[in-house]
């Protein structure tokens, strides 16, 4: 694994002003994944976007983690539906131009 793309959770906590217990809770809820290397915890860089989104939803909208989990699932469903809609729109264009 490319360890250069792993960020220590301690560094994340001080960067975003969050408690380490908050990151643990996110891990327990399955909202983020944590890698443990030599007893140190790391978060992969690809999860930073999601982590920032979680912090914003939690702090700005007072959402609890269960709510955020539901929102993430719904947003993923919405993304898939938008993709499907796009494919169908493109297919419809074939017949509309007939």
């Amino acid at each position: 694994m490319n360890t250069r793309k792993l960020i220590p959770t301690q560094a994340l906590c001080s960067h975003y002003n969050i408690e380490i217990s908050f990151v643990d809770d996110l891990y327990k809820m399955g909202l983020i994944q944590i890698k443990i290397i030599e007893q140190n915890q790391f978060v992969h860089i690809s999860q930073i976007n999601d982590l920032e989104k979680i912090i914003r939803l939690h702090q700005e909208l007072n959402m609890n983690l269960e709510g955020i989990d539901v929102v993430f699932n719904l947003l993923e469903k919405e993304r898939k539906l938008r993709n499907e809609l796009n494919i169908l729109k493109n297919r419809l264009r074939i017949y509309e131009n007939d």
Partner: protein, 293 residues
């Protein structure tokens, strides 16, 4: 600069209590938060408006000022008075980014928001959304383009086979990070316009080919133009109208799979001869007699 009714934005009355304003703000923030409305520009604008309204109405001092001068801001004397107050406030105020706030807000209250301040100091900058119009022929091959976004030049490689409506993300080319956070991303949506005779469905291309009656009956060869040059078609004898043929690998390039292509599906449309000569009519009648036996 036009007057903005912050009470209307938050859907509260002028006599609403701080608590009622907070509840209204929270409710609207949950509805229009950009994280909950991806790729929705209207929600993004609305969210900025409700944040701005909340900044003013949730602060008793700001609210008082807004209530006093807000309605009549167009009256020069009062407006000047408000501006004077704004200047005196600004001298002791932190310099926030004004980009997120309306001219009206700035004229009344100076700088920007303290939304989220102190709780989450470093955040990624705003993501930008943009649309790029391309022709179907252009996206048949991988190409380089230089875009200018907010005065910055961005060199972009557009892989062949990009789909109409597809969105790509360019990291770090959005708005500046907040308090030293990383810069936002740029999202580009491709709008592919098709001015060719081909119809595209994913990686496959569809083409209608007019077929001469005699070739459709007797078989033969014909040459057609594809997006990748000319192709010779072998037409089987007794090819019926609307029958289809597939040319494997002559369709559209598959996105990010170099050298791989979809198929070209041809539909044959038989063209009946018109303006027949007497001799042709005679021969068709003869064929009709033979066919009837």
């Amino acid at each position: 600069m036009s007057f903005i009714d912050y009470y209307k934005i938050l859907d509260v009355s002028k006599t609403s209590t701080e608590k009622e304003i907070k509840i209204a703000y929270r409710k609207l923030a949950r509805k229009y938060h950009p994280d909950l409305n991806p790729e929705n520009k209207e929600a993004e604008i609305k969210f900025k408006e409700i944040n701005e309204a909340n900044e003013v109405l949730s602060d008793p001092e700001n609210r008082k000022k807004y209530d006093k001068y807000g309605k009549d801001w167009k009256h020069e004397e009062e407006y000047e008075k408000a501006k004077q107050q704004q200047k005196s406030r600004q001298s002791g105020q932190k310099d926030f980014s004004n980009e997120e706030y309306s001219d009206f807000f700035e004229s009344m209250f100076g700088g920007g928001s303290s939304f989220g301040q102190g709780r989450s100091p470093q955040f990624k900058g705003q993501d930008y959304n943009s649309e790029l119009y391309l022709d179907l022929k252009e996206v048949y091959i991988t190409q380089q383009q230089v875009l200018t976004v907010n005065g910055k030049k961005i060199r972009l490689t557009i892989p062949a086979g990009v789909e109409n409506g597809q969105v790509i993300r360019i990291k770090g080319k959005g708005g500046l990070g907040i308090n030293g956070g990383p810069d936002g991303d740029l999202y580009i949506k491709f709008i592919i316009e098709n001015h060719t005779l081909f119809k595209r469905d994913g990686n496959n291309l569809y083409l209608d080919v007019d077929l001469d009656l005699y070739i459709s009956i007797l078989g033969g060869e014909m040459i057609i133009d594809t997006l990748n040059g000319k192709v010779k078609l072998s037409i089987k004898p007794e090819t019926s109208n609307e029958s289809k043929g597939k040319l494997k690998g002559k369709g559209f390039p598959i996105y990010k799979k170099e050298g791989e292509f979809g198929d070209l599906i041809i539909t044959y449309r038989i063209k009946l001869p018109t303006n027949l000569s007497e001799r042709e009519i005679e021969l068709f009648k003869e064929l009709q007699k033979i066919g009837a036996k």
